[in-house]
């Protein structure tokens, strides 16, 4: 019994750490934005046409609402397929070889010196 509970807790925290709080890479963000716009517009068009043809306002709202929920499930959590092109940040040792320039302390025309 206790092992099932701990398994549930662990999977929840795993989901939280991957799908909710971890960041998405740049290609994934672009994909998410395009997917969101495309899906919502498509669902809106389908919903309007269906509602108009069936003469039912409620059908239009139901189809569109389902579309919004589906789109939110697809793009809001940070699914793995959004993270295929991960960024390669510089290693700390590589960064030390190119330190930040120090700002000039006296005189406005003094050039900053790079090591």
């Amino acid at each position: 019994m206790k092992s099932i509970n701990t398994a549930i807790q662990e999977s929840k925290s795993f989901l939280y750490s991957t799908a909710v709080i971890s960041p998405m890479d740049w290609q994934g963000q672009k994909l998410a934005e395009h997917l969101m716009q495309l899906l919502l517009v498509c669902f809106a068009v389908v919903a309007f046409i269906t509602g108009y043809v069936l003469r039912s306002f409620q059908m239009m709202m139901l189809i569109y609402g389902a579309g919004v929920v589906l789109t939110s499930l697809l793009i809001v959590p940070n699914w793995p397929f959004f993270n295929r092109h991960s960024l390669n940040w510089l290693d700390p040792s590589e960064a030390e070889k190119h330190p930040k320039p120090h700002p000039a302390i006296s005189g406005p025309k003094k050039k900053t010196s790079k090591k």
């Binding site: 963000q29 919502l40 517009v41 809106a44 919903a47 509602g51 108009y52 939110s72 793009i75």
Partner: protein, 167 residues
């Protein structure tokens, strides 16, 4: 799109903007509806016709109102508000309109209306001008939409006359 809350916010904002556009389009689609309503009113009886103590005339009528307002309903119609007004002219006012009865039609199934009633609201004049008066009975309606613009129109039925003397 860099975080969960950012994406959720962007999605909700875009979804609601699109919803507003859909509702505007639904309202515009109402303009393509060309309705053809019909109605007929008969004054069955003048119940009484008196001058009140403060000097104003009052009349009570029994009416038979029948109307077919089904063609007014579109997919974007919530209900139709209909009322019957008596219209006449007096020396004091060019147009007097007195609402005698109103009702709400909630759906197309109820739109073939037939009702036999006395006037729901009192027919009182501003003054004492109603003896022998010719008046029109006008059926007004307001098509109330689910979203967007409300349309209002009327049918004028002429040829009604009040008696010459009080009863």
């Amino acid at each position: 799109m860099h975080s969960f809350s950012y994406r959720a916010n962007a999605l909700l904002t875009f979804a609601i903007t699109i919803l507003a556009l859909m509702c505007a389009m639904a309202s515009v689609s109402d303009n393509f509806n060309s309705p053809s309503p019909t109605s007929e009113v008969q004054v069955l009886n003048i119940n009484w016709f008196q001058k009140k103590p403060d000097g104003d005339d009052e009349v009570s009528l029994t009416l038979n109102i029948s109307a077919n307002l089904g063609s007014l309903f579109t997919w974007n119609t919530k209900q139709v508000f209909v009322f019957l007004a008596a219209e006449y002219q007096t020396p004091k006012n060019v147009l007097n309109q007195v609402s005698l009865w109103d009702g709400i039609i909630p759906s197309k199934e109820h739109a073939k209306y037939w009702i036999h009633t006395t006037n729901k609201y009192r027919f009182i004049d501003q003054g004492s001008n109603l003896r022998g008066k010719n008046f029109n009975l006008t059926l007004h309606w307001h098509v109330m939409p689910k979203t967007g613009k409300m349309f209002a129109d009327k049918i004028v039925m002429t040829g009604f006359r009040l008696p010459e003397a009080y009863r």
